[in-house]
């Protein structure tokens, strides 16, 4: 079931009504049932996998908590991590690794036929696997107690607003909410619905609109001129922001309506002036997860190498992030570009700071604009490698043609460009005001009823006017 489907428009209000009619102590149980119904609706057999990961996590976290010996605790933690990763590896990386082995064998003259899995990746597996791993490691590090109630663990890993594409939640943030008072709060209902409304706008009016142009160009890249390829490349970050950013707001909004706070995932990323700042604003839940469970242990291990230890850890972390996004070399290149960009920033930070201080640049608007533009361009370039269908040679060919093709008028799709630009302008102005003039212009939060309701109707009208209703999937469902 997709957030933009008709089924969800029936499912969510029904869940809400039953949820709030039930006595408080039964609400979390109902949420668990609703979440499994939601997930089974996608493909029943994959729910078995989710249940297996839940059971593994539950058993091993409790074993870790009960055990005193450090060695045994560690063994339980490692076993749990391996078992939890197995389904993800099987569905996501089996073919990738096999193809690698096949290519290597081919190089030495051995032509063996290796098995190939042709099953779809279970939706959300990358997300709930990371959530389960995070919880297990937190229990091992004694940062959280092991949960005795398997139902709470099951709800944490299957919670329907976040199960498909995050935000990648933490047990420490969710358990106490599920076990606490899940009360009706008119304020939270309004906040949640506002987030959902804006999320739908970002997804339907911005992301899906731009997807028409981007897909038309990249699916027939050979037939398009360099300027069209450049335009589509530049649109990609905005499309993903609209898609995952929109999805995240709908997810966070859904949970908020039910009285549950989910961590944010984006914070006006295009106003970042450096890549390191960008990664504190983009897909925050994933980056925080990678920082805590991959980067920190790695950099701790390499700390005796000083700066270079951090450089190695950064690059490895982002290559793992690339692999998490997709089992293909292009995603590894995407991750490597991020790692290199961040390493360069870190190694030059002191001289950059001194340069900025010397010429008093840090608060100059044109300098900030330059930083934002450079960061955006670098991310757009890296994102060329982050497409699901593109191989590294294809991407290099596209980038080469952007540079070498003679300047011509790009491919024109009047409606898409006009409506896409309009949707982007609205999102940009909103983000700009919140970034630089917070609280100055209030629409959704205006105390005046007329202004507030007018704002709701305007966004709703714009969703229907500018939006695409062809049942487009969310980009991050494939991960």
């Amino acid at each position: 079931m997709v957030f933009t489907s008709f089924n969800f428009l029936v499912f969510f209000p029904t869940v809400l009504v039953v949820y709030f009619l039930l006595p408080q102590k039964f609400r979390w149980i109902f949420l668990l049932a609703a979440s499994y119904y939601f997930y089974i609706n996608i493909k029943p057999v994959y729910a078995v996998l989710l249940a297996a990961v839940t059971l593994t996590t539950y058993i091993f976290t409790n074993l870790i908590a009960k055990t005193k010996s450090d060695g045994k605790r560690r063994a339980y933690m490692v076993t749990s991590v391996i078992l939890t990763l197995l389904p993800l590896f099987f569905f996501k990386y089996f073919n990738f690794v096999n193809e690698g082995i096949y290519s290597l064998l081919n190089l030495v003259g051995l032509h063996l036929q290796l098995p190939h899995i042709s099953m779809l990746l279970p939706v959300g597996i990358s997300f709930y696997t990371f959530m389960a791993l995070g919880y297990t490691i937190d229990v091992y590090n004694e940062e959280i107690d092991a949960e005795k109630n398997i139902g709470v663990v099951a709800l944490f890993l299957s919670f329907f607003p976040v199960v498909m594409s995050g935000p990648i939640e933490r047990a420490g943030n969710m358990f106490h909410q599920f076990k606490g008072k899940l009360e009706f709060s008119a304020e939270k209902v309004v906040q949640g619905l506002q987030l959902m409304l804006w999320g739908y706008f970002m997804k339907l009016a911005l992301a899906d609109r731009l997807s028409i142009y981007i897909d038309a160009v990249f699916k027939n890249a050979d037939q398009h001129v360099g300027s069209s390829l450049l335009l589509a490349t530049l649109m990609q970050p905005i499309r993903v922001y609209g898609d995952l950013g929109g999805y995240s707001l709908i997810a966070i909004g859904c949970a908020r309506v039910m009285g549950i706070n989910v961590i944010p995932n984006f914070n006006r990323p295009f106003f970042a002036t450096t890549m390191s700042e960008f990664w504190r604003r983009w897909h925050i839940s994933l980056i925080k997860w990678l920082t805590d469970y991959v980067y920190t242990p790695l950099s701790f291990g390499f700390r005796k190498y000083g700066m270079w230890g951090i450089v190695i850890s950064l690059n490895l972390t982002f290559i793992i992030s690339g692999a998490w996004h997709g089992a293909a070399f292009n995603f590894l290149v995407w991750g490597f570009i991020q790692g290199v960009a961040l390493s360069v920033e870190m190694l030059t930070r002191k001289s950059k700071d001194a340069f900025e201080a010397r010429f008093n640049l840090a608060k100059k608007w044109w300098y900030m604009l330059f930083g934002c533009a450079f960061t955006y361009l670098l991310f757009a370039l890296s994102l060329s490698f982050g497409g699901d269908a593109a191989t590294v040679p294809e991407v290099l060919k596209i980038l080469g043609r952007i540079v070498t093709d003679p300047i011509q008028m790009p491919y024109k799709d009047g409606d898409t460009m006009l409506y896409g630009f309009l949707a982007f302008a609205i999102v940009f102005i909103k983000d700009f005001m919140e970034e630089f003039y917070p609280g100055r212009v209030l629409l959704f939060n205006n105390k005046n009823n007329t202004v507030r309701w007018l704002a709701y109707y305007c966004v709703l009208f714009l969703i229907f006017y500018l939006g695409i209703f062809s049942g487009e999937q969310f980009v991050y469902f494939q991960f």
Binding site: N141, R303, D353
Partner: protein, 80 residues
């Protein structure tokens, strides 16, 4: 080791890592208060502190360091 001695030895380490000669080390000081104190410079700080005091932190120790006060307590515990 006395807390005062730890603070006195930590101050130049902090000032060097964060390139700020006016930085004052207090119990409440945390990453939120210092520009450039992020996950990258944090590990440099950890490494410099280990060298200064000739100690080794555990990964678990890092998770318990919410501010400098926590760090001082962990350093003290290494000398007990």
């Amino acid at each position: 080791m006395q807390k005062e001695e730890i603070v006195n030895r930590l101050t130049p380490v902090f000032r060097k890592v964060f390139s700020d000669n006016s930085l004052v080390v207090t119990d409440e000081l945390s990453a939120l208060d210092v520009e450039n104190w992020d996950s990258l410079s944090h590990m440099l700080l950890i490494s410099e502190v280990e060298t200064e005091f000739a100690i080794k932190f555990k990964l678990k120790d890092l998770n318990k360091m919410a501010n400098v006060g926590d760090m001082i307590e962990i350093i003290r515990s290494k000398f007990q």
